[in-house]
Amino acid sequence: MVELLILLVKVGVLIGGMLTIVAVMSWVERRGSAMIQDRLGPNRVGPFGLFQPVADGLKFIFKEEIIPSEAHKFYFLLSPLLVFVPALTAFAFIPFGSSLPVLGRDVPLIISDVSVGMLLILGLSGLSVYGLVLAGWASSNKYSFMGGIRSSAQMISYELAMTLSVLTVLMTTGSFRLTEVVSSQQGTLFGFLPNWNVFPQFIGFCVFLVTAFAETNRLPFDLPEAEAELVAGYFTEYSSMKFALFYLGEYAHMITASALIVTLYFGGWQLPYGHPEGMLGGILSLAVFAVKTSFFLWFFVWVRWTLPRFRYDQLMKMGWTLFIPLAFLNFLVVSALLILGVI
């Protein structure tokens, strides 16, 4: 009974946290882009424009709900959910802290520690393809449909490279559990570097980073939703809260992707050279995880406003002819290092 209560508290905290961070990210995006482009961002609604997301939310709620007459209503309304929910669900398998000794027991800061966690995360990112392709198709609009097909083709292609680069991390760890991935990154490498997976598997990290950009449809891979090319891609026909769900869904995917990068390659919630135990360790792990994930969230925003976007054929060509061979190269290198006993 107490276990159930603790689980519900964890789920509530996680969902509440993610939804808040998603709203904060929209503020970060707008102020960050303004800083990069040498202008002010929103600065009227509250100090430094911090209440801008609240204003945006209110605006979205009060907008008129338009559903095109030719649209397939059920799938039109279902697709934003199909994009948003897998991103939230995938976070259930990511350890966001070590453990808190609460109520006389050690509460592990992960919602579900199944033995195949990483595989389920990959499966959930496959499920989010449905939201895109259904959104494009249900809108009964040529541009939406093309945007939807392009976007889902892009996601499927880059999923392969992502799976291959994750494969090497799982090989060196020996398990699909993300808690074990984190605990296998303890200690140091050659005495001075922290034993994070980014150092021996740097190529894999680069491939994973790029494919995370492609999976979340962020620049430089956001042609399917580019404003100038395809109106707005697969969410052209969406208005008010449905559009807000897509918009927030993109940020939710970003958060999950950043959390995954941190967990797989940067040691997760651990401090680099030894992590304390007990309550202090638990709270510190939460803070460390938050800092590391925020860095990568900022990195996503930074890259978006720095690089131009890829053309669609360049994008697909890169996915198949560059990143999959690179991921295989990474696999060869890491296998060689494993056999030689270096890692």
Binding site: V116, G126, L127, V129, V133, L134, W137, S152
Partner: protein
């Protein structure tokens, strides 16, 4: 208690949505119902101590095969076609009767069989599965690789416009 309720709920959802798959006119609804069916079966697979198969079911079936179906349906613009009047109604009635009879007969057989006593599952099915897949069953594993390669090449060659 809770796992048992979960199993029967998932079984009910599986049966319900499999009927939607075969009965609904719109192919997109059938494909999405198949996704629900596959995910509910994945939950049941989890409860049967096969976590790897459950995850693979979601990744491969729900994440790739049915997406392929959906792409084909959408790119060929397949609507909910009006099914023409059945010119061989006997086949339909016979199918319904025979498969209902099949279900009843097999359920009877299952009820009357004494199964071998239940043995405990190995403590780490994932690890043992991996080991046996790469040692005892290495040859079928490699053969399936060749099969998938053949399927990819075949699908590519079949759909080239200038060759058909």
């Amino acid at each position: 208690m809770l796992p048992v309720i979960l199993f029967y709920t998932m079984a009910f959802i599986a049966l319900l949505f499999s009927m939607v798959v075969i009965l609904h006119k719109n192919p997109v609804t059938s494909a999405m119902s198949l996704v629900v069916l596959v995910c509910s079966l994945a939950v049941i697979f989890f409860q049967l101590d096969a976590p790897f198969i459950a995850a693979i079911q979601i990744v491969v079936y729900a994440g790739a095969i049915i997406v392929l179906f959906l792409f084909v349906i959408m790119l060929l613009n397949l609507r909910a076609e009006v099914e023409e009047p059945e010119d061989r109604p006997l086949q339909k009635y016979l199918s319904y009767i025979s498969f209902f009879a099949f279900l009843v007969v097999i359920s009877g057989v299952v009820r009357l069989t004494t199964f071998l006593p239940e043995r405990p599952m190995v403590p780490d099915p994932l690890r043992d599965l991996a080991y046996s897949l790469f040692s005892t069953y290495l040859f079928p594993f490699e053969a399936v690789t060749v099969l998938l390669m053949a399927a990819v090449v075949g699908a590519f060659i079949l759909t080239r416009k200038e060759w058909s």
